[in-house]
C-alpha cells in the first residue's frame, strides 16, 4: 500500500464519528480527497458513475487560469521595473512580480479558506472545491498596488455575503470573486479607481520621466472632445499590440486578452465553460462598440470613436467574459439563455465602460447585474420551451 495512504488511514481515526475531533472531519476530508480519489460508493439505482467530479471540473478552470496568472506575475514585475527604471531581464522581473503578486494570492487563499472551513465545520459539509477557483480569480482582478489588508477584507465579504449566507457554492446568485472586488471598489475607491496601478518599488524621485501610471482605460475615459481617445492613448505610450498581448499596467491577471483567449479555448474544448456565454459576450461587445462608432460625432465623448479592436483588447473584457461571465452557478441554467446572458453582458459592459466616467471599467458591474437577471432570462426562455412540448400532466 502507498505509504501516504497508510499515513492518512492512521490520521483518520481521531476524526471518526464519536472521536474527539469528529467536528473537524470536513478539514480532514478536504485534505484526503485532495490527494486521493474518493472511497464513496453509489447508493441509488444508478450503480456506475461518470469520472467527472466537481474537483476535476474546478481544476479544469484552474488549468485555464494558469497562463493568465503566470503572465500576471511577469507583467506586474515588468511594469514595476519599467516605471522604476530598473533592469528588464526575465529573472529579476519575475522575482519582483512574484514578490508583489504571491502575497496577494496567499492572503486571498488563506483568508478565504479560513471562512470556507469555518462554515463547513459548522454545517458539517464537505469543503467545496469551488473556492479554489474563486481564490485565484479574485487576486487576478485586483490591482498590484492593493494593500494586503484590503485583499483580506474583500475576500471575507465575497465568501460570506457572496456565497456562504446563501448556503455555499451552488446556491449563491452572485459571482463571489466579483462580489469581493465590487465591495473593495465601493468601499475603498481611492485604492482601486484605476488612476495608478503600477506597483512602484523605488522611491518617488527615481521614477522615470513621463511615467503617469494611468491605465489605458483611465486615459480613454478622461479624454475630452475634440481630442481623439486613441491618439491620447498612443501619446501615453500605449499601442494595440501591447494591449492585446498584455504588456500594460492593469489588474494583475486581466491585462492579456491573448492569454484569456487561450484559457477560453481550453474551457470550450473541455466543455467546462459555456461557449454560448463567451460568444454572446463577444458579439454583445462588438455590436455595442460598433453602435458607439456609428453614433459618434464631434460633440459626443471621444471614447465613442475608439476603434473596435482597441475596445476589445484593452481592460478586462476578455478576462471577464472568459472567466467571470462563464461561472456556471451565477449564470442562467439553460444553455440557450446563456447566449442572451452573455450578449447582454457584452452590451452593458461596453456601455458602462464608455459612457460612465465614474467607473473605469464596466465588466464587473455588467456581470454582477446580469447575475441578478439570470433567473429572469431563464424564466422567459423556459416559457418558450414549454410551449414546444406535448403537455404531459395529470
Amino acid at each position: 500500500m502507498n505509504p501516504l495512504r497508510a499515513l492518512f488511514d492512521k490520521l483518520e481515526k481521531p476524526f471518526h464519528k464519536g472521536a474527539p475531533l469528529e467536528k473537524y472531519y470536513p478539514l480532514f476530508e478536504a485534505m484526503e480527497s485532495f490527494l486521493f480519489s474518493t472511497r464513496l460508493v453509489t447508493k441509488s439505482k444508478v450503480h456506475v458513475r461518470d469520472n467527472l467530479g466537481t474537483k476535476r471540473f474546478m481544476s479544469m478552470v484552474l488549468f485555464a487560469l494558469t497562463p493568465c496568472a503566470l503572465f500576471g506575475i511577469y507583467n506586474t514585475g515588468y511594469q514595476s521595473h519599467l516605471a522604476s527604471g530598473l533592469s528588464l531581464d526575465l529573472v529579476s522581473v519575475v522575482l519582483t512580480g512574484a514578490q508583489i503578486v504571491l502575497p496577494i494570492v496567499i492572503v486571498s487563499y488563506a483568508v478565504g479558506l479560513f471562512w470556507e472551513f469555518l462554515f463547513c465545520v459548522i454545517r458539517g459539509h464537505e469543503v467545496n472545491e469551488g473556492f479554489l477557483v474563486t481564490g485565484l480569480l479574485y487576486p487576478l482582478i485586483l490591482p498590484p498596488t492593493i494593500p494586503l489588508w484590503q485583499v483580506a477584507v474583500g475576500i471575507t465579504f465575497g465568501v460570506i455575503v457572496g456565497k456562504e449566507v446563501f448556503g455555499g457554492t451552488g446556491r449563491n446568485f452572485l459571482n463571489p470573486a466579483l462580489t469581493a472586488r465590487a465591495f473593495l471598489f465601493f468601499t475603498y475607491p481611492a485604492s482601486i479607481s484605476g488612476e495608478v496601478w503600477t506597483a512602484i518599488i523605488t522611491s518617488k524621485d527615481k521614477i522615470v520621466d513621463g511615467f503617469s501610471g494611468a491605465t489605458a482605460l483611465a486615459i480613454a475615459a478622461a479624454t475630452e472632445a475634440p481630442n481623439n481617445a486613441q491618439l491620447a492613448m498612443e501619446s501615453a505610450g500605449y499601442n494595440l499590440n501591447d494591449l492585446f498581448i498584455g504588456f500594460v499596467p492593469g489588474s494583475i491577471g486581466e491585462t492579456s486578452a491573448a492569454l484569456a483567449i487561450v484559457g477560453g479555448l481550453f474551457l470550450i474544448i473541455t466543455g467546462v465553460g459555456s461557449w454560448r456565454t463567451m460568444l454572446g459576450g463577444f458579439l454583445g461587445a462588438v455590436s455595442m462598440s460598433l453602435l458607439f462608432n456609428y453614433f459618434a460625432t464631434s460633440s459626443t465623448l471621444p471614447f465613442f470613436q475608439l476603434d473596435l479592436l482597441w475596445q476589445l483588447s484593452m481592460g478586462g473584457f476578455a478576462f471577464g467574459i472568459v472567466f467571470m461571465a462563464t461561472d456556471p452557478v451565477s449564470s442562467p441554467a439553460l444553455e440557450s439563455s446563456r447566449f442572451i446572458y452573455g450578449f447582454l453582458i457584452g452590451m452593458l459592459g461596453m456601455i458602462i465602460r464608455v459612457i460612465n466616467p465614474a467607473y473605469p471599467e464596466g465588466w464587473m458591474l455588467a456581470i454582477l447585474l446580469m447575475n441578478v437577471f439570470a433567473p429572469l432570462i431563464d424564466y422567459v426562455v423556459l416559457q418558450k420551451r414549454k410551449k414546444k412540448r406535448i403537455r404531459n400532466v395529470i
Binding site: E29, L35, D50, G130, G170, K386
Partner: protein, 447 residues
C-alpha cells in the same frame, strides 16, 4: 418503417459484456417471490403458509384490482411468508416438490384469437398472470384490468448495459413473436414495434411487423423515450409498453395454455464468472444463477447497472428482472486523479483524455468518483436527457415541493434512464428524487 433519431444518448462502453451463449441453470430447493419488488401495487396474499401450489397458482394480487394476479413460478408448498415493516409482504418462499404440475389455462390459437373481443383477450392474460408485464405510462405502473390502452409500444432491443439481446431471445422464435403482436393488436388499435437501427438481422427477420427504427445509444430503445418521440397528442401519454421478451411469453401462454416460467436473462459484469445469457425462472436466487463472486468486494444488482436494484449474494430474481450483475464495489484509491490526463477514465464530457484517445471498454465499478455537492448548474444533465428535460431544474423544483412547475416542464416525460445521475459531477442522486416524486404523485392520483 419510421426512423426516430433519439437525442442525447450515450454509449457507456463497459466491460463484462455477456456472451451470446445460453447457459442452462438448475433449480434449487426453493423459489422466492418478492411482492415488494413490484412497484406501485398493494399486494394482498391469496395463499397461506403450508398451502400447496402448482406452477401458475395465484400467490397474491393487487388489493385495488383483484384481476391483477401474480402466479407461482414453481410447484410445491408455501414454506414461509416473510413480512417486513408495517406487515408488508417481503417474500413468499415456496419449497419445491420433485414433480412439476401446471395450472391449466385456456389455449387460444391464431384463428381463435380473431373471434375474441378485447376484454376476453385481456381477461385471458389476467388469468394467465401476465397482466403485470404491461407498463402504463407515465407512472410506469401496471394498468388497471379494465383500462384500454391508447397505444402499445413494444421495445425489442435493450441498450442498457446489460440486458438480454434480441438476437439471442428472438432466435428461431419470430413466429411466436408475431403471434404475440397479434395478441397485442387485439388489445389496442395501435401497436408500435421499435427496434434498434443497429440491429439489421432482426429488422429483416420481423419484416413488416417492425414499425419504428430507433437510432442512438442508451436509452434510445427505452419505451418511455420511444413514446416521447412518437406521440402526437396528449391522449397518448397514457400508452402502455411491453418488453420484447414478454411478447414471447404472452404467445407462449396462449399457445401452451400454461404459465410461461422460463425467461432469458443475462448474468454480466466483471465479477461474473462467465458473463452470458442464462435460462432462468422468477424467484431463483443469485447463488443458483451466478455462482460465487471472486474474493473481492462485489455489488450484486438485479437489473441493468443504471436502473437495477441492489441485492445481496442471496438476492432473488424478481418479477421484472432480466439481468443479474456482479460488479466491483468501489475502486482502488488513486492519487491526484483530477490533475492527471485520465486516458483510462470513461467520461461523458471532454474533461478526460479518454474522450479523445480511448476506444476500448472501461472496467465497471461502483465508485461515486467524487463527493456529494450542491448543484453547480454545470449543464451536463440536460445534455444527457433523451426526453429533452432540464433535470437540474426539475430536481430543484421537486425538492422545493413545486410539483406543479415540474409537471409543467414535462417531468412525467422522464424515462427514468438514469443518465442524468450518471453524468452529474456533484453526484446528486437525481434518479431517486425523480422516482420518489413520481411515486408520490401516483399515489395521490390513484389512492
Amino acid at each position: 418503417m419510421k426512423k426516430i433519431r433519439v437525442k442525447n444518448t450515450y454509449d457507456l462502453r463497459l466491460t463484462g459484456v455477456p456472451s451470446r451463449t445460453i447457459r442452462e441453470s438448475s433449480l434449487g430447493k426453493t423459489l422466492s417471490v418478492l411482492p415488494t419488488s413490484i412497484s406501485l401495487i398493494k399486494p394482498k396474499l391469496s395463499v397461506k403458509e403450508g398451502a400447496s401450489v402448482k406452477t401458475g397458482t395465484p400467490l397474491f394480487y393487487d388489493k385495488r384490482d383483484e384481476n391483477i394476479k401474480f402466479l407461482s413460478p414453481g410447484t410445491g408448498t408455501v414454506k414461509e411468508i416473510v413480512y417486513g415493516p408495517r406487515r408488508c409482504v417481503d417474500e413468499v418462499i415456496i419449497e419445491l416438490s420433485g414433480k412439476e404440475s401446471f395450472e391449466p389455462f385456456k389455449k387460444i390459437s391464431t384463428a381463435g384469437l380473431k373471434k375474441l373481443k378485447q376484454e376476453d383477450v385481456a381477461s385471458a392474460i389476467q388469468e394467465g398472470g401476465l397482466w403485470g408485464v404491461f407498463t402504463e405510462h407515465p407512472f410506469r405502473s401496471i394498468p388497471r384490468s379494465t383500462t384500454v390502452a391508447p397505444a402499445i409500444y413494444v421495445t425489442v432491443d435493450n441498450d442498457e448495459p446489460f440486458l438480454p439481446q434480441s438476437a439471442v431471445y428472438l432466435k428461431d422464435r419470430e413466429e411466436d413473436f408475431k403471434f404475440g403482436l397479434a395478441i397485442l393488436e387485439a388489445l389496442s388499435d395501435k401497436v408500435y414495434v421499435g427496434v434498434s437501427s443497429q440491429n439489421e438481422n432482426i429488422k429483416t427477420a420481423l419484416g413488416a411487423s417492425v414499425t419504428h427504427e430507433l437510432e442512438g445509444h442508451y436509452p434510445a430503445n427505452n419505451a418511455s423515450v420511444f413514446l416521447y418521440y412518437n406521440k402526437e397528442s396528449e391522449s397518448e401519454n397514457k400508452s402502455w409498453s411491453i418488453k420484447g421478451q414478454d411478447v414471447l411469453r404472452l404467445a407462449e401462454l396462449f399457445k401452451e395454455g400454461k404459465y410461461p416460467v422460463q425467461r432469458l436473462i443475462v448474468v454480466a459484469g466483471d465479477h461474473a464468472k462467465k458473463p452470458s445469457h442464462v435460462l432462468a425462472r422468477e424467484g431463483m436466487s443469485v447463488a443458483d444463477l451466478a455462482g460465487k463472486a471472486p474474493n473481492e468486494p462485489t455489488r450484486y444488482i438485479a437489473g441493468g447497472v443504471l436502473t437495477g436494484r441492489q441485492i445481496t449474494e442471496k438476492g432473488i430474481l424478481g418479477f421484472n428482472d432480466y439481468a443479474i450483475h456482479l460488479i466491483r464495489e468501489g475502486k482502488e484509491t488513486d492519487m491526484l486523479t483530477f490533475f492527471k490526463p485520465g486516458f483510462d477514465k470513461p467520461t461523458f464530457g471532454r474533461t478526460y483524455m479518454s474522450s479523445l484517445f480511448n476506444s476500448s471498454l472501461f472496467k465497471m465499478n461502483t465508485s461515486l468518483n467524487g463527493g456529494y455537492r450542491a448543484c453547480v448548474s454545470c449543464g451536463e444533465c440536460p445534455k444527457a436527457c433523451p426526453t429533452e428535460l432540464l433535470p437540474q431544474l426539475l430536481m430543484k423544483e421537486l425538492k422545493a415541493n413545486d410539483t406543479e412547475e415540474a409537471l409543467d416542464q414535462g417531468f412525467l416525460d422522464c424515462a427514468g434512464c438514469g443518465l442524468c445521475t450518471y453524468v452529474c459531477p456533484s453526484k446528486i442522486d437525481l434518479d431517486t428524487v425523480f422516482d420518489d416524486a413520481r411515486e408520490k404523485l401516483y399515489w395521490e392520483v390513484e389512492k
